[in-house]
């Protein structure tokens, strides 16, 4: 499937600080949105931040085609995201989107979504999409601590939500892979979609392999352009070094050298 990429000045129409480190913004396009599917991302030009030379890539968190808006979930990490956290409703934002490939449509109804930290971002859009395809996934989301547990009511609209926190202040204590569902002898899932830190995705991939469950992960390699020309975000695959921004960000774990 091909997607028409656009570079557009969008308008911030909603801003919500979720907690100390995370916020969401809704961006509205001046004309109907192009086709966008779960797994794709946007490259955001950070305004008024001379120290931020390159755009910042963010997964598309959810889409409302009726309102011509899409949502980004952003974690404040450095100068670029700190500037973005100061955006207000009405501000313009220069964005290139939609970029990258998409999660595949599952051929099973036994689906598990696993997200850690900011890696939950593409999974909300995926859960929305799965619901439209009459799939109600199990959604396992991991956070550092209770204060950062957010948007659970959103995820709950689309599936059964399980929570872990590193410190045990909400849900099960530990990392997502420590959750009791993974301690069972048999896992009742036929497909896993995963996004989060590399170490977490590798752990989930290991579990998926052990149980022979098909698994897709969304990588977050650093990149300059986002549309396939700088060749900076590559990852080794069965076809050599491939671009996370074009051939990815979503890869089946069987294709990665993990």
């Amino acid at each position: 499937m091909t997607f028409q990429k656009v570079v557009q000045v969008l308008t911030v129409v909603h801003y919500n600080r979720l907690n100390g480190r995370h916020f969401i913004i809704d961006l509205q396009a001046p004309q109907p949105l192009p086709n966008i599917l779960p797994g794709q991302f946007a490259q955001v030009l950070v305004p008024d931040s001379p120290g931020t030379f390159l755009r910042r890539p963010f997964s598309i968190h959810s889409v409302d085609f009726g309102k011509n808006t899409f949502r980004l979930l952003i974690q404040v990490k450095g100068e670029g995201t700190r500037h973005l956290s100061k955006l207000r409703v009405g501000d313009p934002l220069d964005v290139i989107y939609p970029l990258g490939n998409t999660f595949s449509i599952p051929v099973t109804k036994d689906v598990l979504l696993v997200g850690g930290g900011c890696g939950v971002a593409p999974l909300l859009f995926l859960a929305q999409f799965l619901k439209q395809h009459h799939v109600s996934p199990t959604i396992l989301v991991g956070f550092r601590t209770k204060e950062e547990v957010s948007e659970i009511e959103e995820y709950s609209k689309y599936g059964h939500v399980l929570i872990t926190t590193d410190d045990g202040t909400e849900g099960e204590k530990g990392l997502v892979v420590d959750h009791p569902i993974f301690q069972r002898e048999r896992l009742d899932f036929k497909k896993i979609y995963c996004c989060g830190p590399d170490a977490m995705m590798k752990s989930v991939a290991k579990i998926a392999r052990m149980h022979r469950i098909d698994c897709e992960v969304s990588l977050e390699n650093t990149m300059a352009c986002g549309f396939g020309v700088c060749l900076c975000c590559i990852t080794p695959t069965d076809k050599g070094n491939e671009r996370v921004c074009v051939e990815g960000p979503v890869f089946n774990i069987n294709r990665l050298k993990w």
Partner: protein
């Protein structure tokens, strides 16, 4: 006022305007079809082509730096066979000059690739890359020793019948010595500058950011060095100079032309704004109207120094 004439002549080739895109920042051009009409550009310099497939360097390959970035891609490409059979057919009808950046680890490899590209009708010139800082063998090694620069240029000159451009490295003591050496070897035009060798360190992890430790610096951070080198080379040799290094907008492009560049390349800026090259064409036209300049060639090297 009459529409200003943006066309320039580089070694006998007519360019509709001086704005081209730098190799390694523009893919093969088709990645930009969603964003711009390639026919509005003077030309495109496509990603480096080597004799055989190259996987390039390991990740991480990029570090953002103040007003710029470091890269250590390492000439990743699928080789000249793949270029001729898979890529050339899909780009050959672009309505602009398509120029191939030719690279290699040995003189034989440069010659082999140039010979193959010479057969491609719609490729109007090659740009010999003797300045890539991110490969172990070849690349910059040929571009920092004048005698080797002359030799590789002369050997390619024997087999390449169209316009031969040579892209110089700024990582040298005397850029004019290198420029003269490639002109001696038969270069029709000189492109400069390639990236500056640099490095970035992650203090928390006490490790280099790039897998290769060092990489090539590009972006506005290197513009003053690029302008100085274009100015020096323009005065030292008689062949046309194509200038690049941190050009982000039309004003930057004009500055390079005043310093002596007959044409310019837009590089790293393409990563940030895929439409920037066309905006620069429009901006140069607006500058010419504002300054009542009818022909762009009047600007080349027109820096007032008295």
């Amino acid at each position: 006022m009459v529409t200003p004439d943006l066309s320039v002549n580089i070694a006998g080739l007519h360019f509709k305007n001086p704005v081209t895109t730098a190799s390694g920042t523009f893919g093969y051009g088709d990645e930009f079809l969603d964003f711009i009409d390639l026919g509005r550009l003077g030309g495109i310099f496509v990603k480096a082509v080597t004799g055989k497939n190259r996987d390039g360097n390991a990740y991480p390959r990029m570090a953002e730096t103040p007003s710029g970035m470091l890269n250590s891609v390492g000439l990743q490409n699928k080789g000249v066979d793949h270029f001729c059979h898979e890529i050339y057919p899909r780009i050959r009808d672009f309505k602009t000059h398509i120029i191939v950046n030719v690279s290699g680890s040995t003189i034989e490899e440069y010659v082999e690739v140039a010979e193959r590209i010479n057969e491609l009708e719609r490729i109007t010139a090659i740009e010999l890359n003797i300045s890539c800082p991110n490969v172990k063998f070849g690349g910059m090694a040929f571009g920092t020793v004048p005698a080797m620069a002359t030799e590789v240029t002369a050997q390619v000159r024997k087999v390449y019948k169209k316009v031969l451009m040579v892209k110089l490295s700024p990582n040298v003591t005397s850029i004019t010595d290198l420029a003269k050496s490639v002109v001696d070897g038969g270069a029709d035009a000189i492109t400069l500058i390639n990236t500056l060798l640099g490095m970035a360190i992650d203090a928390e992890r006490r490790r280099p950011v790039l897998s290769t430790i060092t990489g090539g610096l590009s972006g506005p951070a290197i513009k003053p060095i690029a302008l100085r080198m274009v100015w020096q080379v323009h005065k030292a040799v008689s062949v046309p100079v194509i200038g690049l290094g941190g050009i982000m907008n039309a004003t930057d492009a004009i500055e390079f032309m005043l310093a002596g560049a007959s044409a310019i390349q837009v590089g790293t800026a393409n990563f940030i704004d895929p439409t920037v090259s066309v905006k620069i064409v429009d901006g140069i036209e607006a500058y010419m109207q504002r300054h009542k300049i009818n022909s762009l060639t009047d600007l080349v090297g027109a820096l007032r120094t008295e």
